[in-house]
């Protein structure tokens, strides 16, 4: 006891690769000997699947639905090399309040002093979406995560989501909330993708922590219900995840980002869209000429 648990939140739009990346970071950190908990904050409750052989675990909110009092221990499961897995869970789409669900789940663990009891080195929150309501902002608020990373591809919708998150961070930054560690660029396979992301982080005064390529190894691992670290420990992709994990673990100085406002963002994406069309045209011409 006595050490301070480092708490990190990873945000990004649905399907962008949050859970995949987070799980690989968690796996890499346990592999390196740390005590790690991955905390899924997505009503889908599938954040930790690849840490547990593809298996779903009962969520905190599932337990809350069934019982009048919940022992947080009942919601904690161990996976790959002892990593602790927790899913907040949430309602069916279209009913209830998922944001409140996250508040509830996080508070429950905090009140029962779980992070201290398990003597954790890292808690990594895998959080859905851009900041949609107060509930989803919980992990960036004071006293929970200190550092936030956002996952984005070069896709505009993903960048919109990242920019929105930056705005959330800005709101909470002067009230002791979490600051931005940087962007994890996912599915970056071309220089062009890289240029878009680089430009975005420059405009918003942040940084890219790692470029993660889209890779079949990831897909194959996922099919076995495993992280890349577990399924293909010697692959190049595993190496990239390890490097990412190390950077995140070693990361200390986070900053307040400068998100683009709606107009700037539109102008910015329009600029890139023009270039994109230009490139496509050129490649079409190439195909036609061939």
């Amino acid at each position: 006891m006595g050490k301070k648990t480092k708490q990190i939140a990873i945000y990004g739009k649905g399907g962008i690769g949050k859970s995949t990346t987070t799980s690989n970071i968690s796996a890499a950190l346990v592999e390196a000997g740390y005590k790690v908990m991955q905390f899924g904050c997505d009503p889908k409750a599938d954040s930790t699947n690849t840490l547990r052989g593809g298996e779903y675990i009962p969520s905190v909110l599932d337990l809350l639905r069934e019982n009048s009092r919940v022992d947080a221990h009942d919601a904690i499961f161990q996976g790959f090399r002892g990593v602790y897995c927790v899913e907040a869970g949430g309602p069916q789409p279209g009913v209830g309040c998922a944001g409140r669900g996250i508040i509830t789940a996080v508070q429950l663990l905090k009140q029962q002093d779980i992070f201290e009891e398990l003597d954790l080195d890292y808690v990594i929150f895998d959080v859905l979406g851009d900041v949609v309501c107060g509930g989803f902002a919980v992990p960036v608020r004071e006293g929970i995560a200190e550092h936030v990373f956002t996952i984005s591809s070069a896709d505009f919708m993903a960048i919109y989501a990242a920019n929105n998150l930056f705005r959330g961070i800005q709101t909470y930054s002067n009230k002791g909330g979490a600051l931005l560690g940087g962007v994890i660029a996912n599915s970056i396979n071309t220089d062009f993708h890289r240029e878009i992301i680089d430009d975005f982080v420059e405009k918003t005064q942040t940084q890219v922590v790692e470029y993660v390529p889209r890779s079949l190894t990831v897909t194959q691992a996922e099919l076995q219900g495993k992280t890349t670290i577990e399924a293909a420990p010697h692959s190049e992709q595993a190496g990239i995840y390890r490097r990412l994990a190390k950077r995140i673990a070693g990361h200390t100085e986070s900053k307040v980002p400068s998100p683009l406002d709606a107009k700037e963002l539109r102008a910015w994406s329009a600029g890139w869209a023009d270039q994109l069309i230009e490139i496509e045209r050129r490649s079409e011409r190439l195909v036609a000429n061939a």
Partner: protein
């Protein structure tokens, strides 16, 4: 870890203690199922809480919420302001708690004033865009208007759902204004029982008001955790050379701050005092007096002796106890004579009911039924000397029809039919009208100290005689009113007909 002051949000009673709000059976069975009797249980129970099977049914009537208890505690601190961060409806409680506050102040001989509660008055727009800016404005208004010694912020269902970040604003303004700005998390939906609201207030006070490293100790000061009751504790504790520090209601912020300097903490009801007393002992080393509550001879004797022991005043206590026994016993005998053959029913908060039933039995009044609004299988200290239910059963015997229910009027009819009492003792509105319509008079215990101590037995006896005279009114009324329940339901013997055990 018994009490966790690290997080701003208090742990609910059901989480901490395993509190239930639905149960029906013999008092001894409930006592047996509770933690004190059963001791630790295997895996399912937390560090303290015990799981008692609870009755839950589809039909429920409006209860009371934690936010209301925050209003009536934090909102009644004389030189503080309570901000209700909520739509205007939660603020409606200002009316009742103002009336109670004013009458309480008058009864205690303190200057009468209106309470200082301010609603942030959130509207639809705020539900979408967040209410934080309004909260900040209202904190500033509170400061400019009243220059309070502390500002409490009570949350509400609405702000809990939209997830307003109350802590951050509170922290920033606390630094700016230089007074404690204390978020109290009391969203109504968070707990099934309102007593979590007591804990929420006390949690905030322990975290942000109680003096951290008191320079001096006041070895003759005793914290008395109460509500608005009349000042019966000063004369009693005065006999031991002790001074009373009443908290939380009608106290000043400084009186709250000095709790850490006191020699001990006592209460008149563990439901109310459990959290604060345990917290003061755990965090500040102020011993909680762990004894039966001060009702009836045995309870009051033991309570006084324990206070005397904790504050090193044993000799004085024995004199006082002897004199009081001698003074009270003949009068009690007269009352017993007058109350012979009468049957009473107690419908109040949990620990409080345990005490009152004891007093009724001292008065020779038969009690074979009681409704308590919730049941805590254990209190925060976990000390068996605080097991008020066991004390009742050991000293005064079984209560055959012991029911736990959070003020469900529809069940009350059947409960009363079971035992057919001559009168009922009630605290909390809602049940007395039904009893009245059955021709049964009720004693509404506004002054919660009425039955405390030796004199309390006499007080309660007199009140019963007064209220029995009301019977004429109630019987007349019974002949002329109709209840809003179907005959089929009123014919049912089991008030928990629709419920199942969970």
């Amino acid at each position: 870890m018994p009490i966790n002051l690290k997080t701003a949000v208090v742990e609910t009673r059901e989480q901490r203690l395993g509190t239930i709000i639905g149960w029906d059976g013999k008092a001894s069975d409930l006592s047996h199922e509770s933690a004190y009797a059963r001791g630790g249980c295997a895996s399912k129970c937390g560090p303290k809480a015990r799981r008692i099977c609870e009755l839950r049914g589809p039909f429920t009537q409006g209860s009371i919420c934690s936010e209301q208890m925050v209003e009536c505690q934090a909102g009644n601190v004389r030189d503080a302001v309570l901000i209700q961060h909520s739509p205007i409806g939660c603020g409606a409680g200002q009316v009742i708690y103002n009336s109670i506050f004013r009458n309480g102040l008058a009864m205690r001989g303190l200057p009468v004033q209106n309470l200082h509660l301010i609603s942030t008055n959130l509207r639809e727009k705020d539900m979408v865009f967040g209410g934080i800016a309004k909260l900040e404005q209202t904190i500033r208004d509170a400061w400019e208007r009243h220059h309070p010694k502390a500002i409490f912020i009570g949350t509400s269902c609405a702000t809990g759902i939209i997830g307003d970040d109350v802590e951050s604003v509170a922290t920033a303004l606390e630094a700016e204004l230089g007074i404690p700005v204390i978020p109290l998390h009391c969203e109504g939906f968070k707990s099934k029982h309102w007593s979590t609201g007591f804990d929420a207030t006390q949690h905030g006070i322990l975290r942000q008001i109680v003096r951290k490293n008191p320079e001096k100790k006041q070895e003759d000061l005793v914290n008395v955790i109460n509500l608005w009751g009349s000042d019966v504790f000063s004369p009693i504790l005065g006999e031991l050379g002790l001074r009373v520090n009443y908290v939380v209601d009608m106290a000043t912020v400084d009186e709250l701050a000095q709790m850490s300097e006191a020699a001990a903490t006592v209460g008149f009801c563990y439901t109310l005092s459990s959290y604060l007393a345990a917290g003061l002992e755990q965090e500040f080393g102020v011993p909680e007096v762990k004894a039966p509550m001060p009702y009836g001879f045995a309870g009051t004797d033991a309570w006084l002796r324990e206070i005397a022991r904790v504050t090193n005043r044993e000799g004085k206590a024995e004199d006082y106890i002897r004199n009081e026994h001698a003074r009270v016993k003949p009068k009690l005998a007269e009352l017993r004579e007058k109350l012979k053959g009468k049957k009473g029913y107690v419908a109040t908060g949990s620990a409080y009911a345990h005490g009152l039933i004891g007093v009724l039995r001292e008065l020779g009044v038969e009690v074979d039924g009681s409704l308590v609004f919730h049941h805590d299988p254990v209190y925060d200290s976990q000390d068996p000397r605080e097991d008020s239910l066991a004390h009742l059963i050991d000293q005064y015997g079984e209560v055959d029809n012991f029911t736990v229910g959070n003020r469900q009027q529809y069940q009350f009819f059947a409960l009363l039919q079971r035992v057919k009492p001559d009168f009922i003792i009630i605290r909390h509105n809602g049940l007395a009208p039904l009893a009245a319509r059955l021709g049964i008079p009720a004693i509404p215990l506004g002054d919660e100290h009425h039955a405390v101590g030796y004199q309390g037995m006499l007080n309660l006896g007199e009140s019963i005689l007064d209220v029995l005279a009301h019977k004429k009114y109630h019987q007349d009324l019974a002949a002329h009113t109709k209840l809003p329940y179907k005959k089929w339901w009123l014919d049912q013997k089991d008030p928990f007909l629709f419920a199942r055990s969970v």
